[in-house]
Symmetry: C2
Subunit: 525 residues, 2 copies
């Protein structure tokens, strides 16, 4: 058996589970390496085949023992990761890294019902993604029913009971095989799948199964999929629009997934209105539907976890306000997120012809103007020496300790070592109620980011059309300054050896950015 | 003496006040018409001339009695208003109307130091304004010191004491004469002057005079200017950035102006950070520096007074974020305000050459791209059958009663007579903390307005690029539907006789609007 670190390893056994136990067969294995033991459960794949999947997260000789419907033991030699295999993406502070410490910057897209289309359409979607700038996709296990999205899928995840209810105890193996095929195609082209386990846009009843059935379904899914390294768990798309589930239900689902995933994949829950509480221990990052991108630093600070803007409207021309932003605006929202060290997710919603094929739900081709610009941005971000931390403007920083009233103002100012010329501004802002201050500063258009070691500093000017901008660089490093036109996708080096306070000329157009990258040779200013 | 309703009437007396009393001479008059008596004070104009100005707000035969430095009585026949004279602008609910009930829609601009420039520049500014779309200007009594704005004025408002302090007891009459000349030129071309009485951008000391001196200055100004119908009092530009004045000082200044203005001109106080409390009895409207234009309905409701967006950044290309928005964005901000039944104020800040002439501070010529579009908008707004009320989208309405928790949700839903298909959305939003809900809904891009009698309904699509949009029109009226391109300044009638729910085709571009105007002949749908 040939096995590699970070690649799924599969054992297959001929065995037939008892009728009724197909979704939760009695099959488990222990994999032991270097004194560490990992326990995983198997699943029934139909056709008299039981399978056991395991993801070796380190290289070495593993000993395994299989028990239950099949009994077997042996060893497997896991070779070090092959090129291009980096392991599971994990959260570390506010950033994502692959398991091998490679930074992961999330450039997502959205094809909710990708796996519920005709083979031709799914093939086309995969082809499109092959050359698209995205390294993450948000997609659903269950089919989707919504405007522009009414086709009937070929397979469903489960068989039905005699009285017509979905029966998660009887998985529809053709569904899972077909679904898996598409997952693997996505994985092969380097795309992380943020797998949406539940969602409200449903005419079949998958969103309103009894909680007992939800857990049977999840158990099977986790046994089958958890060993895929490029998978994330998204408990829901718009959890708060699922009428059949209470917050207690969500908490139970969250705990179940966390308990039954031996690898602790990224786990989040995507909102419509109220964001899910990302401070919960099982939640790895904030998956946030929002237009309030200037609040990213607030959420990074609040949760100490990565923030992924997993819906910020889609490029398109639908009558619906969520699906009618321009390519310029979609591109700008990516910059607003990325400059602050967050991730962002794209979607495309052009009003369809009678085929009803809209990228955001069903896939197909991309025709918008943002993907090319997102590719340009991805090139810039991935070439940075380290992930960006959000940087607040001088006035934005004030908002962080707003709400101090009266006599305490002086105390706060004293503690903050504020330059004299800023003190008066600060006193004025400190007198604002906290809520007003937060809303005030959230309207500042520019975005700022810098790496923790100041090796790169990025300023996104957004809608501002300034003819020049000032940058404050450390005095003890030298920087190369590039002016970037984020829309026209040009990048020009305008200064080298820069340090301290500098002025950078700009073309008086919106959508500009300035990037300062530390020059390798160290020198005084 | 020839006098007209709504036009300032002036009596001149040869008299010299005692030295030291020039700013507050002993001269007053009573004007009585139809049993109503108005008392006004006179002022010393220099050169041995004392003057008394009175604004007759109704036509009729007035009897007047002058007492003090001059004694005189007589009658004056005040003829009804001449064409084009509408009287003082007053607040009525959330709208402005001239005294004769003509609606006033505020299309402002900003030239802070208009009256402190060379004669040539001031003449040029007036010429520019003659063909500009503005019917209001924000300008200061005192000169302004700030970036791009360092010139020395020819005159100052006061003489100095022997020890070099400003002495408001000794007005500099040349200053007041010159200032008045410019005011009158503005009035003649139909521009309301929102006169800024104090501001922080100062190197001369006018912003830090003792409060006693502030009141002497205001007394003189009010005696001299209050009878001008086209004048509004703006206590300050950015009151909260004036270090020498406490909130108590502002309240005293506010009360003094209210007490000493016999005509009760519009009175407001313009903020930088925290808006001034417009619920105060003396405050006629909210003069708001903000980018949060979606909060206009909140403020209209909170204060029950007109909202004037008196600074929302300026069209230009300065390095400063407040002076670097595009013509598109400036135009959009006007639409966002106007569609909601508010007023808006423009400014222009293009990086100057060595002459340091920037419109926003000093005047000159307008070179931006928004004024032409603001003129187009003004044409549309002024042709409406009545002022617009802000209209919230379905979801935005929810935000108004957000914050109800748990069991009360059902009660609120019951009271609101909510359609079944909206109830679930509402329950979800009702579970948001109020602050989150407000911030969420404030991000909705579209703006909606309609007249109280549904005679006109205006939907501004803002950044949305929809290919079509839905309008909900009353069933019992018929409407003509125009599609407006707010940037390209086109307006096309696309439907007539429309009522009920209609779809309107749009060109999949941003900055579109749809206007439904009731057709004159009444008919059923």
């Amino acid at each position: 058996m040939k096995a590699y670190q970070y690649e799924t390893l599969e054992l297959v056994f001929e065995a037939r589970p008892e009728h009724g136990s197909e979704a939760a067969i009695d099959l488990a294995a222990e994999f032991t390496v270097n004194g560490r033991t990992h326990t995983v459960k198997g699943f029934y794949a139909g056709n008299g085949q039981c399978k056991l999947r395991f993801l070796p997260e380190e290289a070495g000789q593993y000993r395994y023992v299989v028990r239950g419907l099949a009994e077997e033991s042996g060893t497997v030699e896991v070779a070090p990761a092959r090129p291009g295999q980096h392991g599971i993406v994990r959260a570390q502070g506010i950033h994502f890294f692959y398991e091998d410490s490679t930074p992961y910057y999330g450039f997502g897209t959205t094809v909710y019902a990708l796996a519920h289309q005709s083979d031709e359409l799914m093939d086309e979607t995969i082809e499109t993604l092959r050359s698209a700038p995205f390294n993450k996709i948000r997609m659903c296990v269950f089919p989707k029913h919504y405007s522009y999205n009414s086709n009937e899928p070929k397979y469903y995840a489960f068989e039905k009971t005699e009285d017509g209810r979905w029966d998660p105890s009887h998985p529809c193996f053709a569904f899972w095989d077909a679904f898996e095929k598409r997952l693997n195609q996505l994985f092969e082209i380097g795309i992380e799948v943020d797998l949406i386990l539940f969602h409200p846009y449903d005419r079949w009843g998958f969103s309103s199964m009894p909680q007992k059935d939800n857990l049977i379904y999840l158990d099977y899914l986790l046994r089958r999929f958890a060993a895929y390294p490029k998978l994330w768990w998204s408990l829901a798309n718009e959890y708060d629009l699922c009428p059949a589930k209470s917050m207690e239900d969500w908490h139970e689902i969250e705990q179940f997934v966390a308990d039954h995933d031996p690898y602790h994949h990224l786990l989040s829950n995507h909102n419509c209105f109220m964001y899910y509480d990302a401070s919960r221990a099982n939640i790895s990052h904030m998956s946030w539907q929002t237009k309030q991108l200037s609040r990213i630093p607030e959420m990074q600070q609040k949760f100490g976890k990565p923030v992924s803007i997993d819906e910020c409207c889609y490029e398109g021309n639908l009558p619906d306000s969520w699906g009618a932003i321009s390519g310029e605006e979609m591109t700008a929202r990516f910059w607003r997120a990325m400059v602050r060290g967050a991730s962002c997710t794209h979607g495309e919603t052009f009003f369809p012809d009678e085929t009803e094929i809209v990228w955001w739900a069903r896939g197909g081709k991309l025709t918008g103007r943002s993907p090319e610009r997102i590719a340009f941005l991805r090139g810039i971000i991935e070439a940075l020496p380290a992930p960006l931390e959000p940087q607040l403007s001088g006035l934005q920083k004030l908002a962080q300790f707003i709400g101090v009233q009266g006599g305490e103002v002086e105390k706060v100012l004293g503690e903050q070592n504020v330059p004299e010329n800023m003190r008066f501004f600060m006193k004025s802002t400190l007198r604002m109620p906290r809520e007003e201050a937060e809303r005030f500063f959230a309207c500042e258009p520019e975005s700022f980011g810098r790496t923790a070691d100041d090796s790169a500093i990025l300023h996104y000017c957004d809608i501002l059309c300034s003819c020049r901008t000032r940058m404050e660089l450390p005095e003890n490093k030298k920087y190369t300054i590039d002016v970037i036109d984020t829309w026209n996708m040009t990048r020009e080096t305008v200064q080298t050896g820069a340090c301290g306070t500098i002025w950078v000329e700009l073309p008086s157009r919106p959508w500009m950015a300035v990037l300062a990258v530390e020059e390798k040779q160290n020198a005084d200013c």
